[in-house]
C-alpha cells in the first residue's frame, strides 16, 4: 500500500496511516497544480490570489461585491482582503466605492483593464489545466471530485 509519494518526498519512515498519506497527496497535488498556474500567471504580473479575485469580480458583473463577499468566495481564505484590493486598485484592475445604502460597505468592481487581463488569461490557463489533468479521463475526474466533496462534507 506504500504509494509513490513515499519515494517522491524521500521520507525515510513509512506512513503511519492511510489518512496521512491521503492528506499529503492532496497537499502535494495542490502544490504541483498551483505551481503550474503560477508559471502561467507570472508573465502577466499577477498572483493566483489576485487572479481569483478577478474571476470572482468578473462573475459578479457590474453590481460588484463587498470586501466580505469577495473574502467568502475565495478558494484560499485570505485574512487581509483590504490590502489585497489596495494593490489591485493601484494596478487599476478594480475600482472601489463606498456604498450609498450602507456606508460601511465598500463596493468593488472589475475595471475594463482587469476584464481584459482576465479574458486574456482564460486560454493559457485552460491549456495549463489540460497539461496537468488532461491525461485523466472524465470518469476518473468525476470520481475524484466526488471524493473531495465527500471530504469537505
Amino acid at each position: 500500500m506504500a504509494g509513490k509519494l513515499q519515494a517522491e518526498i524521500a521520507q525515510s519512515k513509512p506512513f503511519e496511516s492511510i489518512e496521512a498519506e491521503a492528506m499529503l497527496n492532496i497537499a502535494k497535488t495542490a502544490d504541483v497544480i498551483a505551481q503550474s498556474m503560477d508559471a502561467v500567471l507570472k508573465p502577466y504580473g499577477i498572483s493566483q490570489t489576485q487572479y481569483n479575485v478577478l474571476r470572482i469580480l468578473r462573475g459578479a458583473g457590474s453590481d460588484g461585491l463587498s470586501c466580505r463577499q469577495i473574502g467568502e468566495r475565495m478558494i484560499a481564505h485570505d485574512p487581509d482582503v483590504t490590502r489585497l484590493l489596495d494593490r489591485m486598485e493601484k494596478a487599476t484592475l478594480i475600482t472601489r466605492d463606498r456604498a450609498t445604502t450602507d456606508r460601511r460597505v465598500v463596493v468593488t468592481k472589475i475595471t475594463a483593464t482587469g476584464l481584459k487581463l482576465i479574458d486574456q488569461l482564460d486560454k493559457p490557463l485552460d491549456a495549463s489545466l489540460h497539461e496537468s489533468l488532461g491525461h485523466i479521463n472524465k470518469k476518473k475526474l468525476a470520481t475524484l471530485i466526488d471524493l473531495l466533496e465527500l471530504i469537505r462534507k
Copy 2:
C-alpha cells in the same frame, strides 16, 4: 454534474470544464485541511512549514540533512530554506554545522527541544486528521490516493 463546490464558493458562472472543477476541488480541499492543521499547530507557535521540516529531520535521525535535501523533501517547495532554518535555529529547534567532508554543505539536525515538540504534536495532529478524513472509508481513501498519484504521473 455541477458539484456542490458551485454553491460553496458562490460562483455565478458554471464551470467551463470538469478539469477546472477538479482543480478547484483539490485546491479547496487542501486549504480546508491546511486550516485545520494550522489550528492545531498555532498554540505551539510553529507554522506548517516548520512542522514539515521537523518531521523531515526527525525522520533523518542523528545524521541530519543538508539544506538542499530538506528543500527537496518538503511538501510545498520553499525557495528560501536558509532563513526558514535561521528562525528554527533561533527557536533552538535545530542545530546547524558546516560539514567537514564537503565544506560547502551545512548539516542540519533536530535538537532535543525540537524532537520533544514534534513528538507532542503527533497525537493532536493525528486527531485532527481523523476529524478531517475519518469519515471516509479506507477503500475510498485508497482510490483517492491512486487518482492523485495518477495526476502527478
